[in-house]
Symmetry: C3
Subunit: 264 residues, 3 copies
Amino acid sequence: MPIITLLTDFGTKDPYVAEMKAVVLSICPSATIVDITHEVSSFNILEAALILAEASQYFPSATIHVVVVDPGVGSERRAIAVKTKHFFFVGPDNGVLSLAIKRDGGARLAVSLENPKYFLGRVSRTFHGRDVFAPVAAHIANGIPLQSFGPPIGKFIELSISEPKQIGEAYEAEVLFTDKFGNCVTNIGEHLIPSNARSVLLELEDGRILKLPLVTSYASVPRGAPLAIVDSFGFLEIAVNMDSAEHLFNLKAGKKVKVSFKEH
Amino acid sequence: MPIITLLTDFGTKDPYVAEMKAVVLSICPSATIVDITHEVSSFNILEAALILAEASQYFPSATIHVVVVDPGVGSERRAIAVKTKHFFFVGPDNGVLSLAIKRDGGARLAVSLENPKYFLGRVSRTFHGRDVFAPVAAHIANGIPLQSFGPPIGKFIELSISEPKQIGEAYEAEVLFTDKFGNCVTNIGEHLIPSNARSVLLELEDGRILKLPLVTSYASVPRGAPLAIVDSFGFLEIAVNMDSAEHLFNLKAGKKVKVSFKEH
Amino acid sequence: MPIITLLTDFGTKDPYVAEMKAVVLSICPSATIVDITHEVSSFNILEAALILAEASQYFPSATIHVVVVDPGVGSERRAIAVKTKHFFFVGPDNGVLSLAIKRDGGARLAVSLENPKYFLGRVSRTFHGRDVFAPVAAHIANGIPLQSFGPPIGKFIELSISEPKQIGEAYEAEVLFTDKFGNCVTNIGEHLIPSNARSVLLELEDGRILKLPLVTSYASVPRGAPLAIVDSFGFLEIAVNMDSAEHLFNLKAGKKVKVSFKEH
């Protein structure tokens, strides 16, 4: 049973997501469809790319990941399908697929979706999710080889995540992502954290300086107390036990923070 | 594998939708259940009817569409099941199924759901979605013929969509639907748009008059610029590239707009 | 086809729920996954426990219910799996499973999840939903006996629902739950309602006293009129036809109300 995942900024009120599922099931009735999320902020390509890079890696081999965050729909932007070591990725060529592709070792084959034989009968100019990406994903699930959908392409648009900048002993870091709990994921990867670090000195944009214990579970500190933790993404996260670091520290995606590590 | 879709105004926080799925899977374990949406505005029959009419048509033949937007639950309103050319529709007889039935060519058979043999053991007066509609849909998926559920009925309640009114060269139109992006779908069908039209003169209720280019993709205009487009529903849509026409023009479902087409 | 349900406070924007589904499908590809809800208020164990107790009972026998409302993740709180007459329950030992277990007749076997063989390769300290509970549920679906996951335990944390207190002819009751429609479910079970009762005298915390007809359907009263009804949970519910009792009467989970029954 092939798995097709969907990741969009469509929300779940409108009929758009259901129409994509209807098209998939019409072409590949045995597909198992899994929603990654449809709550990406409208047109936020970086946010979608980060979520895809995180979630995609846990799926079984041969899963087909479809992403529709597509402000350029109907313009000259290409539609692409990409094969990596474990997965297929289908979506607009605007960078939204690129972080996940990179995390899975890079593209083994990328094609431009140009063969109308595999599109829905009549392709609208406003909804390629339903008319191009969903049917192509379903045909991939049916075993159609990537080459059938269009010519191979050498390049596609790649996003990059900002790297933390080292200044003396500190890092100028950035919040990549805030989750539903208000936990703030930074771009400081685990490998940058000294093994003897026990706390984090955090300097916020508004000048506040906080010393946060570097712990291994949220519940290691009292309710309402701030903490730093390596989270399930493998990044340094700023959090507050059972409260929101996002609100308390006025953080959000893109905000800068200064971080240094202490032995005590 | 039979497909059963669900469309309700229940939201996704409460246990109601899960209980419907539980009942379906208890009776028909092989059913594939697809959510159309559960975010219909509470009791908004017209909104649900429009979403169903749009989404239902993309599903494979024999799909069973269940709708529960049901302010009259427990009153004398009938519960019905209807067969059309391609689909089955199950829900309350309050008009919510009628636009989709009409779009699929009208009813071939309609019955009133009266046979308690196919209901959940004990039918509550407040939740026919779980106790009547879900089990009936699952039994249809199992191949039980429609006649088994109750007597055929000649008529059921039908909604009508307002038609645009022609006044000289202009149309007095209405917004049918606004989506998550703030795009405003009007009741002006594609067939009313002259083939040489290049722009739309739009008069809002507050007296503002705007000239919008009639384009084929959102990205045809700069970010933040307004546009008119034939959307994926086949209707004229008022939109703003990467912004919300709903907010900028103070539009919502039911609002009147005056529209005329220009060659330049 | 085994059924695995998921109930969390993760919301649907972040990749967390999709990662759990990915892990389940990697281990048990034939699983049917059903979302109960992911909109539980953050860390609200009682709310999740009530929703689980309601929804779980409608699922087919052998369904595996996974709950992740887990403020103590990474601390010393145990992770458990419990077998009842009809179901399996998997989650943290913080009481969140206990009301559903009790409703299904109590635990027949409970184990502490300690065998890393059935966890995800590397267990994070922050996301046991993905790293412990999802893989264990999938292995249960594959037929692994509960004893394989860890030692049996005699006790686990149990929540209790407040019982209404009888004061003369009245009950001092509590709102357990408000749903999306603003209907307020109290802790007064059906068995406490005299068979000849025709109306309910309701005293609110702010001193307002209302006489509500005790009816069998919302539509028994005019639009906007208040009512009392035995709801689909089997509890006395305070509601307003097509409006919100939660807002109009300023009620929410935990609020006290005084209720007495009248014959006319």
